[in-house]
């Protein structure tokens, strides 16, 4: 894939390469995917990025911010209180939702067993839990079907959906399910369903994945591996990396030499310098493999809440405007 394979994320960035310019001339590349899934290693800021992206997108259209674990971490960062799911009174155009594989399974079962008393009791029985666990990928498959519907809803009202997804390992497992189902069932209804979900995942207008990383070796490595799997193995149409927590260098190498007497301060300066260098190297490395990089600044603030998320949303928005 050429540099700039994921067109829209090119548009989030200052344009650098010729190829990217050519890509941007193509009108289909001018819009963000309707549904964007945010994943990454634990502790790399998935929820912050999801919250900031949803906040930025809510300025352009009705946006759903959803999670798959019912923790509502991203929405919590925006300062939302949750007595009931649904609208965010404080933010126009932003709706919070929570999906779980379990709830999707329940919906499915209730559709098949319309007698509520039986379907409810059944769902509560341990037996049933094990049976569904033994059917590989059923819950995950139903979850992806839900995401497909969510993207369609977003498309219909010209809005967006942002998913605060589980860590990259689990997210890749989830996204691999259609492939697994297709291998298991080479033909028939399920194969057809799996193909529909696969088409959705590979359609850059409907689906995209943002992988978050921090300037740390392990996080960068995990992000590279995740990106390679998403793009080359799962053939996801839109993938990009968000390099989160990138600080300004502040002190130069020669500054660090001058302060050799202040050992503790020098250590802090060097620590900052090391993360800057690592971020720069990671940026280059991602670009060399043709992956778009979105950089978000390190916020040196004592609090990390709604105002900081708004700052990050502003940074994302600005990248869009620059384009």
């Amino acid at each position: 894939m050429a540099a700039g394979g994921s067109g829209i994320f090119v548009s989030l960035l200052p344009i650098r390469s010729q190829e990217a310019c050519v890509q941007l001339l193509c009108p289909s590349d001018m819009s963000l995917p309707y549904l964007i899934l945010v994943t990454g290693k634990g502790g790399t800021g998935k929820s912050s990025v999801a919250a900031a992206l949803a906040l930025a997108l809510s300025n352009r259209g009705k946006t759903v911010l959803a999670d798959l674990d019912q923790r509502r971490t991203a929405a919590g960062l925006l300062g939302a209180e949750f007595d009931a799911p649904g609208h965010f009174p404080a933010i126009a155009n932003l709706e919070v939702r929570s999906f779980t594989p379990r709830a999707e399974l329940e919906t499915f079962i209730e559709r098949i067993v319309p007698i509520k008393v039986i379907s409810r009791r059944m769902l509560r029985s341990h037996t049933f839990g094990y049976v569904t666990a033994a059917l590989p990928g059923l819950e995950a498959f139903l979850m992806l079907e839900r995401l497909r519907l969510l993207a369609d809803e977003a498309a219909a009202r010209n809005g967006f959906a942002v998913i605060d997804a589980p860590a990259s390992g689990s997210a890749i497992e989830l996204l691999s399910v259609p492939q697994g189902v297709r291998d298991l069932a080479p033909s028939g209804t399920l194969n057809r369903l799996a193909r529909a979900v696969d088409d959705f995942l590979r359609d850059p207008r409907r689906f995209g994945v943002l992988v978050t990383a921090r300037p740390e070796h392990l996080a960068i490595r995990e992000a590279s591996e995740a990106l390679a799997t998403l793009r080359d193995k799962l053939r996801i149409g839109y993938v990009a990396v968000v390099l989160n927590g990138v600080s300004d260098p502040l002190l130069s190498g020669s500054d660090c030499v001058k302060i050799h007497r202040l050992a503790a301060h020098r250590r802090l300066a060097l620590q900052r310098q090391a993360t800057c260098e690592l971020a720069a190297r990671a940026h280059r490395q991602f670009q060399e493999t043709g992956v778009e990089v979105i950089e978000l600044p390190m916020l040196y603030t004592a609090e990390f809440a709604r105002p900081q998320i708004a700052t990050l949303a502003g940074a994302l928005d600005q990248l869009v405007q620059e384009e």
């Binding site: 039986i118 049933f128 049976v131 589980p166 298991l184 202040l262 004592a302």
Partner: protein, 364 residues
């Protein structure tokens, strides 16, 4: 200085915690410190960072215990550290090989498409396999302390509960439902089981997958192995309850860890267990003073930059405060909360691990 975490009477330390908090690092640091103190230690890691793998010499030999050379570190006793890496799939395969009633049954299971999917996806398989490998290590008896890192848990204490759930699955009516013999499954089938069977049949019809018949065949082939599984599961349950076993809960001072840690504590509680310690990983060490900058003979612009750098790091340090307080509040009263120093970078040498262990004041 007295030890904050004394492992002398322990034979097994299990590190639990949500993904991304550094369970592997903490486990390796505890194991190394105990080995330097003279004990014979096995550290079993599940999902180690590549650099930590290098440090522990595990890059080449993944699944067999591997000696970590301690000579560069001035051990205080005649200790020894072995590291090994868990491979759930391989352990499951070995288990099938061990307990399958015949070689034909073994080959049937190992080649089964459901087994291949199941051994990777069934909730608790990785956890159960960690427990299996743990029992193997114990039986081998080459070490007097085992430090175990657990898989990143989706559901609080998956690892500790996995053997019981696996056993429950094997003795459950689910198996009868799926076609195993009634002797194997306990209890009669109720109306809801028949409803479940109807759903599965509907699913099969809908999908044209004939998955149900495959699941049934697989379950039947597992039948002969029940006794072996049950015995192992009971052993693991007994082992985690021994007084010489310590559960260490690992967290970080970040907002999303509060709820996760609270869930871990309460699900341990539900199992009748309590952590021996809560370790907060990557806590920033105290920062240097502003006076040092004021008094230094440096150009004013450089001083300004240094002041800003200090202010930036101070803000991050201040960010930790409330979360540490919240973690402290949810720690049971008689459980010590210990803080592991943030090195400002990822630990990648044995020396780094020693530094982390020292910040915890561990005694082997």
């Amino acid at each position: 200085m007295s030890a904050a975490l004394d492992l002398a009477a322990r034979r097994l330390v299990i590190c639990l915690g949500p993904g991304g908090v550094g369970k592997t690092t903490i486990g390796a640091a505890l194991a190394l410190e105990a080995a330097l103190g003279g004990r014979t230690v096995d550290v079993m890691t599940i999902d180690p960072a590549p650099r930590l793998l290098d440090t522990l010499g595990l890059q080449i030999q993944p699944a067999t215990p591997h000696d970590v050379p301690l000579t560069t570190l001035k051990p205080r006793g005649r200790g020894r550290l072995r590291a090994l890496r868990l491979d759930p799939k391989r352990t499951f395969d070995r288990l099938i090989e061990r307990y399958a009633p015949s070689s034909a049954a073994r080959d049937a299971i190992l080649g089964d498409r459901i087994y291949r999917g199941l051994s990777a996806t069934l909730a608790g398989v990785a956890e159960y396999m960690a427990a299996e490998q743990l029992l193997d290590l114990r039986r081998e008896g080459a070490s007097d302390l085992i430090v175990l890192d657990t898989p990143p848990a989706h559901e609080a204490v998956d690892f500790l509960d996995a053997p019981r759930r696996m056993l429950e699955l094997l003795s459950s009516r689910a198996l009868a439902l799926l076609g195993a013999s009634r002797e194997m499954a306990r209890g009669p089938l109720g109306i809801f089981d028949f409803a479940a069977r109807a759903v599965l049949a509907a699913f099969d019809r809908l999908t044209g997958l004939h998955l149900l018949s495959d699941v049934q065949a697989f379950v039947r082939s597992l039948e002969g192995m029940y006794a072996g599984f049950a015995e192992r599961a009971a052993q693991v349950q007994a082992l985690i309850r021994e007084p010489a076993t310590m559960m260490v809960l690992v967290a970080t001072a970040e907002p999303q860890r509060i709820d996760q840690t609270r869930e871990f504590v309460s699900s341990l509680n539900r199992l009748g267990l309590r952590p021996g310690a809560l370790i907060i990983n990557r806590v920033m060490p105290p920062l240097p003073g502003l006076q040092e900058i004021q008094h230094a003979r440096l150009a004013a612009p450089l001083k300004r930059k240094l002041r800003r750098n200090l202010a930036d790091f101070s803000a991050l340090k201040a960010r930790e405060g409330p979360w540490l307080e919240r973690l402290h509040e949810l720690t049971p009263e008689d459980v010590p909360m210990l803080m592991a120093e943030d090195l400002g970078r990822e630990p990648d040498t044995l020396r780094d691990l020693v530094r982390i262990a020292r910040s915890l004041r561990v005694a082997g």
